[in-house]
């Protein structure tokens, strides 16, 4: 795609001409509504709604689109106009696709044995948009799904056809390496074994973290280690919005974690949206691999 506006305008006009044209004409569902596909879906979703099992089972309404999918063998019912539109976008470099919106209305339940047919129209094609994934066009279709000839539901679907912003072309940014020296080597050896080791002064028994050559309490240079249980709480935290550092995608939460043993460690709080991290939140240790050489202890938020 070139940078000249009039070229884009002309291309957009060609795309706009597809609005209102059919995307599928009397497409036929590859399988009638059936119990095995319903069960596989419910297993994947963890959905145990009683209406979706047993002798009078109905299909989960949210499966509406599933019955129209082409699967590995493609869409025989697809109209020429839709394939043409997708080809035009492919040729313009918009070879990737991602779905962004789905609006479904359910008019009658689908039951095992129902034969599915569907008609689909290209509702709109957007102007050229630049997104995080790349630059492309939103294509919206509207599909009427029929079961044994009667309208069972409607399905509006929006995809982004885009030219990928090749992230791979620049080398992947790696996290900074830890500085390992004779005073803290034992800590990193523990991390490699998925153990978080706390130093313990063998003179006075005081625990210390991060690792240091001597005890702040009694000055003794002698120590052994205690493995952390992995339980902890957020003692304090910051959310980093700016500036971005290589290998870190803001916003993210950096926590000062108080371990059950009483010492504190700085690390990422993971598995919780950055804006949901709170002081006092219980967290649990886990080890994450960030690249071939780097494993780090991080803390998974434990929501009650």
């Amino acid at each position: 795609m070139s940078g000249e506006p009039d070229v884009h305008e002309e291309f957009e006009a060609r795309l706009k001409a597809y609005e209102g044209r059919p995307a599928a004409v009397t497409g036929v569902g590859k399988d009638p509504v059936n119990e095995p596909m319903i069960r596989h879906w419910c297993e994947a979703m963890g959905d145990t709604h009683p209406a979706y099992a047993g002798p009078d089972a109905v299909a989960p309404p949210t499966m509406l689109q599933v019955w129209t999918m082409g699967g590995l063998s493609g869409h025989p019912g697809r109209a020429a106009a839709y394939d043409e539109l997708l080809r035009l976008l492919d040729e313009a470099g918009c070879t990737s696709v991602v779905a962004t919106d789905c609006e479904q209305e359910y008019l009658r339940p689908l039951r095992p044995g129902d034969e599915i047919t569907f008609d689909s129209v290209i509702e709109s094609v957007s102007a050229r948009k630049t997104t995080k994934l790349g630059t492309g066009y939103f294509v919206t279709t509207r599909t009427d799904v029929h079961a044994d000839g009667a309208l069972a539901g409607t399905h509006r679907f929006r995809i982004l056809k885009y030219a990928p912003a090749h992230r791979r072309s620049k080398p992947r940014e790696l996290r900074p390496r830890p500085v390992v020296n004779r005073d803290n080597a034992g800590f990193w050896e523990g991390v490699a074994r998925h153990e978080l080791l706390i130093q313990r002064c063998t003179g006075c028994g005081t625990l210390r973290f991060p690792w240091l050559p001597g005890c702040n309490g009694c000055g003794s240079p002698d120590w052994d280690t205690v493995g952390a249980s992995g339980e902890g709480t957020v003692y304090s935290y910051v959310v980093l919005h700016h500036p971005p550092f290589p290998a870190f995608e803001p916003p993210y939460a950096v926590g000062l974690i108080e371990l059950a043993e009483g010492v504190r460690i700085v690390s990422n709080v993971v598995g919780v949206p950055y804006d949901k991290v709170r002081i006092g939140m219980p967290v649990r240790l886990e080890f994450r691999r960030y690249d071939d050489e780097l494993v780090l202890p991080v803390f998974q938020g434990v929501t009650p």
């Binding site: 596989h40 959905d47 709604h49 999918m69 590995l72 779905a99 962004t100 479904q104 994450r288």
Partner: protein, 127 residues
């Protein structure tokens, strides 16, 4: 059920297995939902959940809450930050409107990188 009611959150660990199982159960063989290398070539750091799975999870969240009589009438969702393996999505919902036995619920699904899904579900709960 009353307007303003908040649904208890539902936490969904986004495993690689869930993403792939959801894609296959929905007959969606787009490589970005099962092949990490091809997903990266398309500008994504890893595979990500397909919209049909998100749709199914949003529907499940609502019927889990409203119980065995609940019937979905409409589900409208918009996707934002993708659900990648290793993340957790937390679904929350607020009843926006109640009309007889039918409720409209605003649903948000947040993951570690932002808002994965926002949507509106209309559900009928016959007495």
């Amino acid at each position: 059920m009353n307007a303003g009611d908040r649904l208890p959150p539902l936490e969904i660990p986004i495993t690689r297995t869930l993403i792939v199982a959801g894609a296959i159960a929905s007959r969606d063989y787009q490589d970005v939902h099962h092949d990490p290398d091809l997903a990266r070539e398309k500008g994504s750091p890893d595979i990500f959940m397909n919209i049909l799975t998100t749709n199914g999870l949003v529907g499940r969240y609502i019927t889990d809450h409203f119980g065995p009589r609940a019937v979905l009438r409409r589900v409208a969702i918009r996707l934002g930050a993708p659900n990648h393996p290793g993340d957790t999505m937390v679904l929350t919902g607020t009843v926006e409107q109640v009309d007889g036995d039918t409720a409209t619920v605003r649903v948000v699904g947040a993951n570690g990188i932002g808002t994965h899904v926002t949507g509106t579900v209309t559900v009928r709960v016959p007495a």
